[in-house]
């Protein structure tokens, strides 16, 4: 009877209840969305690189090095000499060393020069290795391996020819149009920036820059592919190195050795440590977003409270009647509370439902635009805590109108 009374009373005030419900639903949606994306972004960033013990680059900030080498965000400050790479790779503690070179692009996607062991050693997530969806790694100078998003978005498959452009802008005018590359392989999706990268060999990067001086193509003396393949395409420098060590114990030792190198100013970072530094910076943004979401929620709650408060004036006769048939004053208190709870729970279900649907719809966009794979499964432990928090907050705020109803019932007539 109690629940039925609350329900019918809400239905009787459809107009204001529906508007309040919408405000609550939107605020719940925003709150859960911020929390979910925050959580997913952290998950994804953390799983972008694994199995790499050290990242080495020119001396710069550790965050900068991490961002440009792993996330392809920002630009490298300087390169590392090929000799330094050789020296580090020959260190007895180093199991494997993968050089990477950045700086070119293809239709907005970054091109990364590397060596074949990259496909063997680089791993992401929980030690997942890269796998080929089609074809295999590059063998020739002008071969290219595509990340899954690059292939999907641009509609490439193995055997296609593509032209790289110099620099990073998607509408670059300086094209390496004299040297088309052939797609030899396409990687399986990883949910990391690898999906948006074109992988070529270091030799390929060297080859397309023959006859270039200071970033400008020199006219004339065009070489044929045969001529190029005759040349010894030894890179002079690379952008960064990824190192795997024989023993984890040696990490700090090798790191110190590299950081103290006198030959060239180098910086070695532990990806995990740099990631946690990244979190600390992201935290400010995250917390700001969360704060805004919470404020939106509080505004909706106050709206709910105001709606219930004004409904009590309109329900004075009803309150008096309930008192006359013997309802204790507390009954009125709980009646308002249960009405609040109903609105909150319905808006929680609606908000979560809309979030799940919109995530499912926006998934492709988020991946292609931000490289952010967001799962549409919003059921998590933290979401449950948020739901409980939302319910608790609405109970607290409903104390105001509930007390009003209670005192009306007390002094009735």
């Amino acid at each position: 009877m109690f629940i039925k009374l609350a329900l019918k009373s809400l239905l009787n005030r459809k107009g204001s209840v529906v508007l309040t419900l919408m405000a609550m639903t939107i605020s719940v949606f925003v709150l859960l969305a911020v929390e979910h994306i925050r959580y997913q972004a952290k998950e994804n960033f953390a799983k972008t690189v694994s199995g790499v013990d050290l990242i080495v680059g020119a001396r710069t900030g550790s965050l900068n090095l991490l961002l440009y080498s792993v996330f392809r965000i920002g630009s490298p400050t300087n390169n590392i000499a090929w000799e330094s790479f050789k020296q580090i790779a020959n260190n007895p503690q180093v199991k494997w060393a993968i050089p990477i070179t950045l700086g070119d692009s293809h239709k907005g996607y970054r091109v990364m020069g590397t060596t074949k062991p990259y496909f063997e050693y680089f791993s992401y997530g929980n030690q997942h290795k890269l796998k080929f969806d089609q074809g295999s790694a590059f063998n020739q100078v002008f071969d290219v391996v595509l990340g899954s998003d690059v292939a999907k978005e641009l509609g490439y498959s193995t055997g296609d020819a593509i032209i790289l452009s110099h620099g990073l802008a998607s509408t670059s005018f300086s094209l390496h149009d004299d040297r088309p590359f052939t797609v030899t392989g396409i990687l399986e999706p990883t949910g990391t920036p690898v999906d948006q990268t074109l992988h070529v060999s270091l030799e390929g990067i060297e080859a397309i820059h023959i006859n270039w001086r200071q970033g400008v193509k020199m006219p004339g003396n065009k070489m044929t592919e045969e001529q190029i393949e005759q040349l010894e395409l030894k890179p002079k420098s690379v952008t960064a190195l990824m190192l795997g060590l024989k023993s984890r114990m040696a990490t700090f030792h090798v790191q110190r050795e590299i950081n103290q190198s006198v030959r060239e100013p180098l910086l070695a970072i532990l990806p995990g440590v740099a990631l946690s530094e990244l979190w600390q910076m992201m935290n400010i943004l995250e917390n700001t977003l969360l704060l805004v979401a919470i404020l939106v929620f509080v505004a909706a709650l106050l709206g709910l409270s105001a709606m219930l408060l004004s409904s009590i004036r309109y329900r004075e006769a009803e309150i008096r009647l309930l008192r006359v048939v013997g309802a204790p004053s507390v009954f009125l208190f709980f009646l308002i509370q249960i009405e609040t709870l109903m609105i909150t729970i319905v808006s929680l279900i609606l908000g979560a439902g809309i979030l799940a649907i919109s995530l499912a719809v926006a998934q492709d966009f988020l991946i292609s635009r931000f490289g952010l794979p967001v799962s549409s499964n919003i059921l998590s432990e933290s979401a449950a805590y948020y739901a409980l928090g939302i319910i608790a907050a609405s109970i607290v705020i409903a104390i105001i109108p509930s007390l009003k109803a209670y005192s009306k019932a007390k002094i009735n007539i």
Binding site: M1, F2, K4, L5, K8, S9, L11, N12, A317, E318, R320, L321, L322, R323, V324, V325, G326, A327, P328, S329, F331, N412, I413
Partner: protein, 235 residues
Amino acid sequence: MSISLKNVYFTYPDAPHRPVLNIPCWTVAPQEQVFVHGPSGGGKSTLLNLLSGMLVPSQEGQGGQGEVSILGKRLDKMSQRQLDRFRANHIGYVFQQLNLIPYLSSVENILLATYFSAHKKARVKSADVEKLLTKLNISPDDWSKQIAKLSTGQQQRVAIARALINKPELLIADEPTSSLDQDNRDNFMSVLVSLVAENKITLVFVSHDKSLSRYFNRIDALSDISCLSGARGCS
């Protein structure tokens, strides 16, 4: 005695020096049907609220707090919770208007009244509700209609059903006919009087409309009950 008031004095807290009621002595015998008439704003509703325990007498009566004794129980000695329970179990109440919750049906309104009278809840069956509604000339088509969709005459009759469902010993009616037209008023009064007699209920009926006094054998003027000018003894 069904009702026995002694030295009952009442002022509202916002006007403590203007007494609304001052009743030296007033009694109603069991099964008596009393018509109390008086001008609007004369304290009729206050009297009824004192009888139902919604209000308690003020402290400054002659000889301390007055006595409100209903069905042999001292309301002025009960806790709030006991009063709520007592009201649900023993007293039926019909107002001038807004007797029913507008968004519930007749049946739901009547069952709501049984919800708070704990010991009678189990005994009330929907058959009882239907019997009562039939007696009150409410057609079965209207039983599950929202109250707001019924006519005023029907609403007041459903209000009687709601007031009587818990089989109260005392029925209080506060100008229940003032929103009804002549035909509905006669219909309402005859149904009310016959049901009250049939169920052996004590009735206190207040109205400013003296034409209704023909349905009653005891007629009291509020000005005789409540003596604001000076004290009178209990005769």
